[in-house]
């Protein structure tokens, strides 16, 4: 395995975690967040929602099945959620220097090196997670050879602008035209939409789609504070005035909430896992969902015409909203999974059904 160099993780509060490097050897700073998922590191690392973040994986054994090759299908990376690694650093407990999987072409460490992202192992990730969960947000940095750098708070930047596409891209050639507002969309959302008879028109986050012809509007996930997307919110308010179907996921859910007049707030303990239970309001139907968010819509602030769609079974927080009469709904969790459970993939079908109905009208 060659020589392994030491490096360390510093938190804003002064705590230091010493570990060893398995990725790119250059210091890096960002917000330290964790996820308790037990699979899916290639998916997480390429999820634009992690832009600017140092990601802690609580599952200790990482790198086991390596990293698959890049290969495009329908203009999308087949095995990744976007075209690049978005995290600023990876923090784990036990790294598998050797990997084995039929689909792997390189090790996780090599992939990180290619993408100039540091990786640190040998960390007590459980202890680190306990501290992070209490802090909510913590800035940190991975330091090599005392090459110290400043802390960096990615939330002061407009991260959505960084990860959104720069121009309109069209996927598929189906009957139903879906405008997808890209705030940092995961490929699997597009993949799901394309399983139906759709044309997906992916537009930048600040693109004014209200003048375009479309049958349904999709609001994607994305990184950071929803308030940064004021342009998107403004466009969305216009879209809400008409009755066309809208479906939002994660950041898209928060944007829809804000546009409809509701407030968002910061959760005491963020949801960062593949095992979040949600209940569909007013039913006995529960689903396991993949989540990664620290903010939520405040139930009590929903405006007239809106109601909670899903609630979290652990802490009762809002997990989605819907309009009482219009074909508009959103989910705070990730029905597109990747990684995580696929229990709520039916929401895509539901969206397309609404689009069909609207179009037939």
């Amino acid at each position: 395995m060659g020589t392994v160099n030491k490096c360390k993780l510093l938190l804003e509060d002064g705590s230091v975690f010493e570990g060893q490097s398995f990725g790119y050897e250059g210091s890096s700073a960002g917000e330290v967040v964790f996820n308790t998922a037990m699979t899916g590191y290639p998916e997480s690392l390429t999820d634009p929602s992690y832009k600017g973040q140092l990601l802690v994986l609580t599952y200790p054994l990482i790198g086991n099945y390596g990293v698959p090759a890049q290969s495009a299908e329908n203009g999308l990376e087949k095995f990744f959620e976007s075209n690049s690694v978005h995290i600023s650093g990876l923090i784990i407990s036990d790294y598998s220097f050797k990997y084995n999987h039929w689909n792997a072409t390189k090790s996780l460490g090599d992939w990180l090196k290619e993408n100039k992202v540091p990786g640190i192992f040998g960390i007590d990730t459980r202890e680190l997670t306990k501290r992070l969960r209490e802090k909510g947000v913590a800035l940190g940095k991975i330091i090599f050879n005392d090459n110290d750098i400043d802390f960096y708070d990615p939330n002061i930047d407009n991260l959505v602008a960084k990860v959104s596409c720069s121009e309109k891209t069209i996927y598929g050639n189906g009957k139903y035209k879906i405008i997808l507002v890209d705030c940092g969309v995961k490929n699997n959302i597009i993949r799901y939409l394309l399983t139906f008879d759709t044309t997906v028109i992916r537009v930048p986050w600040d693109y004014d789609f209200t003048k375009d012809e479309y049958d349904g509007l999709f609001l994607s996930n994305g990184p950071g504070d929803p308030q940064m997307c004021s342009v998107t919110i403004k466009n969305l308010r216009k879209a809400l005035e008409i009755d066309k179907p809208i479906f939002g996921i994660c950041l898209g859910n928060q944007l829809l909430g804000i546009a409809s007049g509701a407030n968002t707030y910061k959760l005491k303990y963020g949801h960062r896992s593949h095992n979040q239970p949600v209940l569909m309001s007013g039913t006995e139907r529960a689903f396991i969902t993949s989540q990664n968010h620290g903010y939520a819509i405040q139930d009590g602030t929903l405006t007239d015409g809106w109601e909670p769609y899903f609630i979290n079974l652990n802490d009762g927080s809002n997990e989605g909203i819907r309009h009482k009469s219009k074909p508009i709904f959103s989910a705070q969790f990730h029905p597109e999974a990747s990684g995580g459970p696929t229990d709520t993939e039916f929401l895509f079908e539901q969206f397309i059904d609404l689009v069909k109905k609207w179009k037939e009208k």
Binding site: A37, T58, T125, Y269, P341
Partner: protein, 1071 residues
């Protein structure tokens, strides 16, 4: 729920057997707890008296009766429950439930099957229906053809092409299953499988595919979760009960993990399970192709493992779902605040390793494959695979110290050993690495995923690095820490550094001191089901080197008591010690002290985190116990309720200053060390069989000449007679001396005069400061020579002299005083003509403690624990020993699973479990107990084939009785003539070597006999070989077999003198 359920009947799984062990005590106990919480009256049918579930306060009424349709119907008739739970008692309960349903019993008595509907169960049990069900939702199953006769089987194999696999429907843990590579193998195996099942399956072979399992839960609202997935280290082809298993899966991508998860949920919804089920997959190692191998529509060994691995109480939740709750309506019992509808996130890896006891059996095949032979398992928790695996390999308790650092293995043919695995498979891999086999080559030969092999290589590499250092002082901290993170014990490190093979207790303590000075210590981590995402106050703990900070503070300095558990279930140590541990914990808690449990067996109740104040799911080695004691600083440690493992630690713990509660370790040593013990008895003028302790063969031969054969040869520290053997002549003696010497070099061999026509009597007792507080004398039905764990035991004794009992009591009192016993103990005696001899003394709870406690209705462990804690314990009133009923404890054997093993009883314990039944008289208890361990009252024909004159005489009355009762007796020549002379007409059957057809083996295969009694003359190899074929064929063709004349006679008398209908349907509290 349409109808209010006030009373529920739960079926247990009966005696522990291979494929059905302690996991069902755990799941049944949890279910009963869940029902109780709802205010429901519970009725339990389970003859396994040693279990926790058959204890007071767990079920309201307990019936120690066979879990068979007849008895369960009688209980239903009497108790009139509104509901029944079938999925908590393994395949035994499920099969019984299906039979009752088919007989219309549930309908007749208006009993609702709670949880999964019986139709759904049947859909999963019948392969053809099952495959059809899967096809309806487009889920792939192995291509498979159901066959009901040989002709069909041959055709099916031709169609699918060899290799194929055979499976028997409705069979426990893969009974009668196996791979066939050609027509010959098919012929052999299919014939055997048909003996167990009317229907067998011929399937495509998926050898080499990954084996993955999901534990899936569904409620009546159609909400589903997968609590856990698990990956087998060994590829498909090795039964999951025989494989090392890790949770969660390690080599699956997100895509694969969730593809299989989605299919699992699809299946459980389509079949309509309400509660829990287990889905087993084969996954192609080179693509995402898969097959669904099996669905178990009930709690299983895997679900018990999943519960322990994740902290998710599957059985408890399944029981609640059976009552109509939704998952989202219940709270996670770990966090108390979050929902039960969630999927645990682990931040550790668990590793399950099976425990085999194949060495205890004569002639058994050591190969592991598609049917299960292991008798127990361990679960190890770590933050690297290496750590969990090495912990686990120590836990299985077969003298191994991890993957490396063990005694050298002699392997003749690596290629064969790697491709045709035995119970030593993992150690063969390590040895192969030592012989320069690289990971790829090992992968190729074993089919084990390269990732796992690479991890094993990491361990091997670290060993190589450690070997470079000859003293501790120059050992780099980084290497030491790396080794500890990979699960190396101080013992292993000491062995590599000091390059010694002898006892390293001192050296390992040196390593300990050295590393502690460097601050290299393990940390205590919690299992919280959420990977620290939310705060959770849990008491479910393990130790690891993969971290810096402890999750918890000590439970309460000086206020806590540590109880050492019994480790992996094995022959000689199983659920009875779990009962003892649980009762010790209860007593500690009731006394206002904090109870701390250390154990690592996922099949137990004692490792349930709500049974104690703190559970350390970790090793019972000196090193780990010390780690925990140093952290917790408890008031004391109890070593006498967990069987031999804690007992063996007592002295070493005391030497490093640990406070051992109860009888002092010096006394334990005086009882364990035969030399000391015998000297003590001599001084006390207590008789014992003649014996010699020696390492010299010549000396032993002299002794043999003096006292005569047979002799018993054994090493001094005994666990259910490891390497213990009876020898009948000089050549055997020499052979076994070598064998015993290999078991333990540390202790010399003991050779004892072996008695045959002698009664064996046991006493279980509790003392305080040398004075007996309570005791129970029980009597073996069989004469001495049958291991006490295999004996049928009567309590109170029915056929011993009053004077003998008085002598035993007196001698026991003297020994208790001499050893100043405080706590539980057990002494075994030989008795003949009112002379008694002491044969063994254990200063700890014995296997029979739960049995005698439950018969007496006095909890001897509670008493013993109070005594050890220093509390006052009142002697129970004498009248309490005057019982109106009797109890019998009978062994359960699992020979049918142990391919080729000779099903004969000897000094080596062979039974895997036991039952205990209560009744008004001798016949009633014997009959109930025999029916409980699977015997059936013969309908017509019985084969008698008896060795010695003594056993022939013993059986004369029985034979007469059988004839009088209209049974047809068949006999082999000697027995035929003997009985003929006694005026008893029997039908002569030729032995296989007599060259007549049909001979006895043909007739057994034709199912001609309903019962076979085969008594061998003695335990010499020659004699045993003679009738081996008769006994083995009986087992292979599922014909009840008795090999002891006294037991045969007791059973025959019982079923001739009473009918099954005469057995009273009485619960424990009605006794």
């Amino acid at each position: 729920m349409e109808r209010k359920i006030n009373k529920v009947l739960l079926l247990g799984s009966g005696a522990l057997k291979i494929g059905e062990a302690g996991e069902f005590d755990y799941s049944g106990s949890q279910a009963l707890k869940a029902l109780k919480e709802e205010g429901i009256t519970t009725v339990l049918v389970n003859p396994n008296i040693a279990t926790v579930q058959t204890s007071e306060h767990i079920a309201d009424s307990i019936y120690f009766l066979p879990v068979t349709p007849y008895f369960v119907e009688q209980v239903i008739k009497k108790e009139k429950p509104e509901g029944i739970l079938l999925s908590f008692g393994g395949q035994t309960a499920l099969n019984c439930g299906i039979a009752l349903f088919e007989q219309g019993v549930f309908e007749k008595y208006n009993v609702e099957v709670l949880g999964t509907p019986i139709r759904a169960i049947m859909d999963t049990e019948d392969r053809e229906l099952f495959v059809k069900k899967l096809a309806e939702i487009g889920v792939l199953a192995p291509r498979s053809i159901a066959c009901t006769n040989m002709e069909e089987a041959i055709k099916a194999a031709e169609k699918l092409g060899f290799p194929i696999i055979i499976r028997a429907a409705y069979a426990l843990g893969g009974l009668g299953s196996g791979f066939c590579t050609d027509a010959d193998e098919l012929d052999k195996l299919a014939n055997k499988a048909f003996a167990y099942s009317k229907q067998i399956l011929i399937e495509e072979s998926l050898k080499g595919w990954k084996e993955i399992e999901y534990e899936v839960v569904r409620d009546r609202f159609d909400n589903c979760i997968t609590v856990c997935n698990m990956e087998n280290f060994d590829p498909l082809g090795i039964h999951t009960g025989e494989s090392i298993v890790v949770a969660p899966s390690q080599t699956l991508t997100n895509q694969e993990y969730h593809k299989l998860r989605k299919i699992s949920i699809g299946i459980i919804k389509h079949i309509g399970i309400v509660g829990e089920c287990n889905v087993q997959f084969a996954l192609d190692p080179d693509s995402e192709d898969y097959r669904v191998i099996e669905v178990n529509a009930r709690l299983s060994r895997s679900s018990a493992l999943a519960s322990k691995a994740t902290g998710y109480p599957l059985a408890f939740v399944a029981a609640k779902l059976g009552l109509g709750y939704g998952l989202h309506q219940l709270k996670n019992s770990m966090t108390k605040t979050t929902s039960t509808f969630f999927e645990p996130a682990l931040d550790y890896i668990v590793c399950k390793i099976p425990r085999w006891d194949l060495n205890k059996f004569k002639g058994v095949s050591k190969q592991i494959g598609s049917s299960m032979k292991s008798v127990g398992e361990v679960m190890a928790i770590g933050r690297t695979f290496e750590e969990a695996l090495q912990k686990g390999l120590r836990m299985i308790g077969q003298g191994m110290h991890g993957l490396v650092g063990n005694k050298d293995l002699i392997i003749e043919n690596f290629e064969r050993e790697l491709s045709e695995p035995t119970d030593m498979r993992i150690f063969v891999i390590a040895e192969a690495m030592n012989h320069n086999y690289n990971a790829e080559k090992i992968h190729e030969l074993t089919g084990i995923d390269l990732w796992f092999i690479q991890k094993l290589e990491n361990i091997f590499e670290t060993r190589r690095e450690l070997l470079k250092f000859q003293n501790l002082e120059i050992l780099p901290d980084e290497l030491l820490l790396k080794a500890k993170k990979q699960g190396f014990s101080d013992f292993q490190i000491a062995r590599f550094i000091y390059n010694e093979t002898k006892d390293l207790t001192e050296s390992l303590l040196k390593v300990r001191k050295f590393r502690e000075a460097k601050g290299i210590k393990p940390v205590v981590k919690q299992i919280d089901t959420l990977a620290a995402e939310y705060p959770a106050q849990t008491n479910y703990l393990y130790l690891t080197y993969g971290g810096l900070e402890n999750d918890v503070e000590p439970a309460g300095k000086d206020d806590s008591i540590v109880v050492l558990g019994s480790g992996a279930y094995r022959i000689g140590s199983s659920v009875e010690f779990d009962w003892c541990s649980v009762n010790a914990l209860n007593t500690i808690s009731k006394s206002g002290l904090k109870s701390i449990m250390i154990n690592y067996n996922p099949e137990t109740v004692s490792t349930d985190y709500d049974i104690c104040d703190r559970l350390y799911f970790d090793e019972l080695t000196l090193e780990r116990v010390l780690d925990i004691i140093e952290f917790e600083q408890p008031r004391g440690v109890i070593v006498s309720v967990g069987g031999q493992i804690p007992n063996n630690l007592a002295m070493r713990l005391m030497k490093v200053g640990v406070n051992i509660l109860g009888t002092s370790p010096e006394s334990i040593d005086r009882a364990e060390d035969r030399h000391k013990f015998s000297n003590m008895l001599d001084k006390m003028k207590v008789d014992q069989p003649e014996w010699i302790e020696s390492t010299s063969v010549a000396e032993v031969l002299d002794f043999a000449n003096k006292v005569g054969f047979p002799l018993l040869v054994r090493p001094s520290y005994v666990l259910s007679g490891s390497a213990m053997n009876v020898v009948s002549n000089e050549s055997e003696l020499e052979k076994f001396l070598t064998l015993a010497a290999n078991v333990s070099k540390q202790y010399p061999v003991v050779v004892t005069k072996f008695f045959e026509d002698t009664k064996e009597i046991e006493i279980d007792a509790v003392s305080k400061n040398g004075e007996i507080i309570a005791y129970a004398i029980s009597e073996h039905v069989e004469f001495a020579g049958v291991h006490s764990g295999d004996a049928t035991i009567l309590f109170p004794p029915q056929k011993i002299y009053v004077e003998t009992a008085r002598k035993i009591k007196k001698t026991t009192s003297q020994i208790a005083k001499e050893l100043n016993i405080t706590g539980p103990f057990n002494i075994q005696y030989l008795a003949k003509n009112n002379d008694i001899k002491v044969i063994e003394c254990n200063l700890r709870a014995s296997r029979s403690f739960p049995f005698v406690s439950k018969v007496l209705k006095i909890n001897l462990i509670e008493m013993a624990t109070k005594a050890m804690l220093g509390f006052d314990v009142k002697k129970p009133d004498k009248s309490i020993f005057d019982l109106d009923y009797i109890g019998v404890k009978a062994p359960q054997f699992s020979f049918s699973r142990l391919h080729k093993a000779d099903p004969v009883l000897g000094v080596e314990m062979a039974s895997t479990g036991e039952v205990g039944c209560l009744g008004r008289n001798y016949n009633e208890v014997i009959l109930t107990a025999m029916l409980s361990v699977g015997y059936k009252i013969p309908k017509k024909s019985i084969l008698l084939s008896s060795g010695t004159i003594r056993s022939k005489v013993e059986l004369v009355n029985s034979a007469r009785m059988l004839t009088q009762n209209g049974f047809e007796i068949y006999s082999t020549l000697g027995t035929y003539e003997f009985l003929n002379n006694e005026g008893i007409k029997t039908r002569l059957v030729p032995r296989p070597d007599e060259n007549y057809r049909p001979h006895v083996i043909d007739l057994i295969k034709e199912k001609k006999f309903d019962l076979i009694v085969n008594i061998s003359k003695d335990l010499s190899e020659e004699e045993l070989n003679k009738d081996y074929l008769i006994r083995r064929t009986a087992v292979d063709f599922n014909v009840p077999l008795i090999t002891n004349s006294r037991l045969a006679s007791a059973f025959i008398h019982a079923f001739c003198e009473m009918k099954i209908e005469d057995i009273a349907i009485k619960s424990w509290n009605e006794m």
